[in-house]
Amino acid sequence: MTLKTVDTNGLRKRMPDEIYMSIGDNPIGFYALADQYLVNQQLHNLIESTNTGLWERSITTNEAWWSPKFCELLGYAYGELDSNYLTFLQKIVHPHDSEMMFNAFQSHLKTNTTYKVELRLLTKADGYRWYESSGKAWPDKDGELSRMIGGIIDIDAKKRNEIKLKRNEFQLRENNKIAHIGGWEFDIMANELSWSPEVYEIHELEHDGHIDVSNAITFYEPAYRSIITTAVNNAIEHCKAYDLELQLKTAKGNVIWVRTKGVPIIDEHGKCVTLRGIFQNINEAKLRELELHNSVDLLSDQNKRLQNFAHIVSHNLRSHTGNLQFMVNLFDEVDEVSDQKEIFNNIRTISESLANTIEHLNQIVKIQTEISNEKQELSFEHFFNNTLNAIDNNVAETGAIICSDFTSCPTVNYVPAYLESIFLNLITNALKYRHPDRKPQISCKTYLELGHTYLTFADNGLGIDLDKYGDKVFGMYKTFHKNANAKGIGLFITRNQVESLGGTIKIESTVDVGTTFIIKLI
């Protein structure tokens, strides 16, 4: 029986005196490898040269042996590590790895799975480093698994890169998720399109891996298909990159805005071999942008109307004050009493006109003040009849036939004063411009379409040549017929009221046939 103790100082001097033919046959069982290792210079060199550190442990006791290379890999001198497996587990193995190590060991003993673990070990001076440890349990002469022999290699750099890569991948994936951005690649020769998971997600499509270019293009809304097709073709044929914002319909039928960017990858012959790009869901931002555009349009519209209004006010007030000056100067020139009377009558007329103009201005200013009045659920029927009652005389005088149908949409949430004014202006407009050859017929209807409330108002009156006057119909003081009581204020006010609540007003008309107003109230 040859029991050997390892002497750190006399390591190289002492030679083992027995060589065992096989590990399993080792009668003593424990220092067999140490003996072999130290005795066999060639084996030693070979193992050293692979940078593998050897270890051995008893399964029955906690005795352990760590080879010189093993110690070196951890930065220790040979023999500096305690020859006790428990101490090793407690002091050297990273606390997070010991359980995994134990499980792998148990699994190896019970089911003979390969023992190969990646774990962190505490080095002498460099903190924890990553190692790969693999080994095998061997039976003693009775067939009992009595010890385990194995090796470790340093995988720190590789492992750290791997972890870093994983972290980067995770981060990229998370970033992409947050930014709703994915990547894609199209191999032109192979005609193969590949999408990153995020691209599938944006399409709300299962990641089944089967996607081709023509298939991908059908996701775009019809209006955008030719744009993307042209861009892809240009990229392939002329190596032209593209960056587009388009609308597509996802597999679940949601219409969203996406940004797709494609860059051609060019081979040494200057030929595009691959297209690579990013794909991003920009729906929310795009919708906000479009909304902003709309607001800007609306604002510039309102601005234009305000400016136009200012010009009109200036013009109308000026024309009255101009006449007033004219008449006052003329008054000085004439001597005849009859002339003076005439001129004074004119001054009286001017004063009335001025009052009227001011009244019109008040009405327009009122549109803006009334907009803040509370909207209420209003009955069309009720307001329409009230308006008819108010102008009873006019209606009777013209013999007008007025019919209304509010059954499809009986109510609207609107500013009461506006609805009253809209009905009044439309009815008086229809009566005023009735056809001389027939009794006026007026038909008023409401309906709902795509969540909007519409009001249509049709008459059989004079009609108007829209090619000629189309843009002026709703202008202030625009009159188109030889009509003494035409003031050109009603439709101007109606349009302002409708538009100030976000609606629109359109006109269809044929001369000598009639006119229809189509108003989107809300």
């Binding site: 010009h311 200036s314 013009h315 109308n316 000026r318 024309s319 101009g322 006449n323 000056q325 004219f326 008449m327 100067n329 003329l330 020139e333 004439v334 002339d339 005439e342 001129i343 004119n346 007329t349 001017i350 003081y477 009159t479 188109f480 017929h481 030889k482 009509n483 035409a486």
Partner: protein, 135 residues
């Protein structure tokens, strides 16, 4: 008296009755011109000018308003440019308006048939100047 002889007929195209009254009165009072014809909109004026029967009554000067029903001053000028070659008489057109809008003034400048743009109210001195200019 500073009557400018060649001006025999003045034509006022304007829907503002008080202004037309004032111009008429002033021209009569100062004996600026013996004949005056008036129209309330551009269309009536064009129809008068086009009618060959009115050849001997064609005006020397037209005072043209911008804002009028049926046919405004701009549309009148378009039609006028078309019929001008058939008229066989040199007519001076003044655009007379209450508008001090630059857009209107600039637009009038681009129309070669318009001799000048006059802002209302028209004073006697200005009227006299316009008559002399047209003579």
């Amino acid at each position: 008296m500073t009557i400018v002889k060649p001006i025999n007929t003045v034509c006022v195209v304007d829907d503002d009755e008080i202004y037309v009254y004032g111009i008429k009165k002033l021209i009569n009072l100062k004996q600026l011109c013996p004949n005056l014809i008036e129209f309330r909109n551009g269309k009536d004026a064009i129809e008068f000018l086009m009618n060959p029967e009115n050849n001997d009554q064609l005006p020397d000067v037209i005072f043209l308003d911008i804002t009028m029903p049926i046919m405004d001053g701009w549309d009148f000028m378009e039609s006028y440019a078309k019929i001008k070659p058939q008229l066989g008489k040199k007519i001076t057109v003044y655009m007379v308006s209450s508008s001090i809008n630059d857009a209107d003034i600039e637009r009038a400048k681009t129309i070669s048939d318009i001799t000048d743009y006059v802002v209302k109210p028209v004073t006697y001195d200005k009227l006299l100047e316009l008559f002399q200019l047209a003579a």
